[in-house]
Amino acid sequence: MQVEFVSPEAVLFSGECSQVVTRTVDGDIAFLENHAAFIGALDIGQAQLWANDGVISLAINGGFVEVSGNAVTILSDGAMAAGDIDLSEAESDLAVAEEALSSDAEDVDAANAKKWAETRIQVAASS
C-alpha cells in the first residue's frame, strides 16, 4: 500500500509499505494491505513503517492518520526520524519533565513532555 508521511514543512516519506504501526489516542493500531477506511487522532508515540528497504521508525508528537483506498496518510506537525533525534537533548528534556511532575503530578504539559522525551529515546534506541 502507498504510505505518505506529511509534515507541515515537507513530505517526509512517500512510498510502498507492507505494514504501518502507530498509536492513536485509544491505543496502538496496525494497518495492513486493504485496511478499511479509517481516520484517527494520533497520540505521542512511535510510528513504524515497513518499507521495502527495512523498517523506518519515527517519533510522533501527535497528529492524524487517514486510511482510504489502500493508501495511508500520516499527518504530523511534530515528527522526528530516528536519525534526527538528539539523544542527550531528549534525556535532559526527560529529566526536566520528571522534576516538574514530581512537584506537580497533575501537570499535563510536563506529562506530555515526558512522554515525548521517552518516545524519542525509545525510537533512537531502536534504530
Binding site: E4, V6, S7, P8, E9, A10, V11, T24, V25, D26, I29, A36, A37, F38, I39, G40, A41, G62, F64, E66, S68, T73, L75, D77
Partner: protein
C-alpha cells in the same frame, strides 16, 4: 575652477558605484531567496490539503460543526487583524501596501463602531503601528525571511486564544499573496471563525465520508484537527508573505541598480564635459599667450609676461575694475 568640479563629480560617481554594487548584491540575494521561498510554499501544500481532506471526510462522517472555531458570533464588537509584513525595509511597497490596507480596514471598522486588536508579524509592522499610536496586542519578529512552522504555531495559538475567549468576534488575516514572480497581491481575508464551506465541513453525509471508522469520535478528532488547520493556514500566509517580500525586494533593488547605472552615465557625461572645458580653456590660454609673444616678437619677453599676468589677475578679481 573646472578642475575642482571634476574632482567633486568623480567622487560622486565612485560613491554611486559603491551603492550600485550593494543594491546589485541585494538583488541577486533576493532573487535566489524567491526560489527557495517558493519551494517552501510548495512543500507546505500537501499538509494543508490533506488536513482539509480529513476535515471534509470527518464532516461527512457526522462530526458536528459546533466547534468554537466554527461558531459565528451574533454581534461583532471587536475585530482582530493578523498582519504579515517584513522585518526589513528596502523592499519597495511591500510593507506599506499591507499596512495601509489594514489601516483602511481599521478605519472602516471604527466607522461602524467596532474596536480593533492587532497581532503583528514583522518589525516594520510593529514600527508602523506603534509610531502611529495604534494599540498593538502582540508583535512577533525575526522570522519574516524564513518562517518556520513553530513560528506559525506560536502566533496561531495566541490568535486562537483571543478568539476562543470571546475577546474578539472576528479575525482577519492580512498578507501579500504570491501570484507569480511579477505580481503579488495584498489580501485581507477572514481567518476566524472558519467558514464551514471553505474547509469542506459543510459536506453532507452522503459524500465520501461514509464508511470511515473513527478513533476516537469524529467530533473529538475535529476539535483536535481545527487548530492544526488554523496553524497550517497561518503558516501558508507567512510563507507567501516571505516569497512576496523577496520578490518585492528583488524588484526594488533592480530598479535601484538601474537608477544608479543611469545616474552614473549622466554624471560621467557631465564630468567629461567639464574636463574638456578645462582642457579647452587651458589650450586657449596657451595659444593666445604664444600668439601674443610671436606678434610682439621684437618686444621684450618681460613685457609679455607682465601683460599676461595682469590679464589673469583681472580675470581672477573682476571686482577690482569696478572699484
Amino acid at each position: 575652477m573646472a578642475g575642482g568640479q571634476e574632482r567633486i563629480l568623480r567622487r560622486r560617481i565612485s560613491s554611486i558605484e559603491a551603492t550600485k554594487k550593494i543594491t546589485r548584491a541585494m538583488e541577486l540575494i533576493a532573487a535566489s531567496r524567491i526560489v527557495k521561498a517558493q519551494g517552501r510554499v510548495r512543500s507546505a501544500k500537501p499538509y494543508s490539503e490533506k488536513v482539509t481532506d480529513v476535515i471534509t471526510n470527518l464532516a461527512g462522517g457526522g462530526a458536528g460543526v459546533d466547534h468554537p472555531l466554527l461558531t459565528q458570533a451574533d454581534q461583532v464588537n471587536r475585530v482582530a487583524y493578523v498582519v504579515i509584513a517584513a522585518d526589513r525595509g528596502l523592499c519597495g511597497g511591500y510593507n506599506n501596501n499591507v499596512l495601509r490596507a489594514v489601516e483602511r480596514a481599521i478605519t472602516a471598522d471604527q466607522a461602524q463602531g467596532r474596536q480593533y486588536v492587532l497581532v503583528l508579524s514583522g518589525k516594520k509592522a510593529a514600527g508602523y503601528f506603534s509610531f502611529r499610536g495604534y494599540e498593538v496586542h502582540a508583535a512577533y519578529e525575526g522570522f519574516s525571511d524564513q518562517p518556520n512552522y513553530s513560528d506559525a504555531k506560536t502566533m496561531a495559538e495566541s490568535v486562537a486564544e483571543l478568539f476562543e475567549s470571546g475577546d474578539v468576534q472576528q479575525v482577519y488575516l492580512a498578507y501579500t499573496r504570491f501570484l507569480s514572480m511579477g505580481s503579488q497581491e495584498v489580501t485581507v481575508d477572514q481567518f476566524m471563525p472558519l467558514e464551514a464551506s471553505e474547509i469542506g465541513a459543510d459536506a453532507s453525509e452522503n459524500t465520501a465520508g461514509g464508511g470511515y471508522e473513527f478513533e476516537p469520535e469524529p467530533a473529538e478528532i475535529l476539535s483536535r484537527l481545527l487548530p492544526r488547520y488554523v496553524e497550517a493556514r497561518l503558516y501558508a500566509a507567512l510563507l507567501e508573505g516571505s516569497a512576496s517580500e523577496h520578490a518585492a525586494r528583488q524588484r526594488a533593488m533592480k530598479a535601484a541598480t538601474d537608477n544608479a547605472e543611469d545616474l552614473k552615465t549622466n554624471l560621467t557625461r557631465i564630468m567629461n564635459r567639464a574636463r574638456q572645458e578645462a582642457i579647452t580653456t587651458e589650450i586657449m590660454e596657451i595659444v593666445s599667450g604664444s600668439e601674443a609673444m610671436s606678434d610682439d616678437g621684437d618686444h621684450d619677453l618681460d613685457d609679455a609676461i607682465t601683460q599676461s599676468l595682469e590679464g589673469s589677475l583681472a580675470a581672477l578679481i573682476p571686482d577690482r575694475s569696478d572699484a
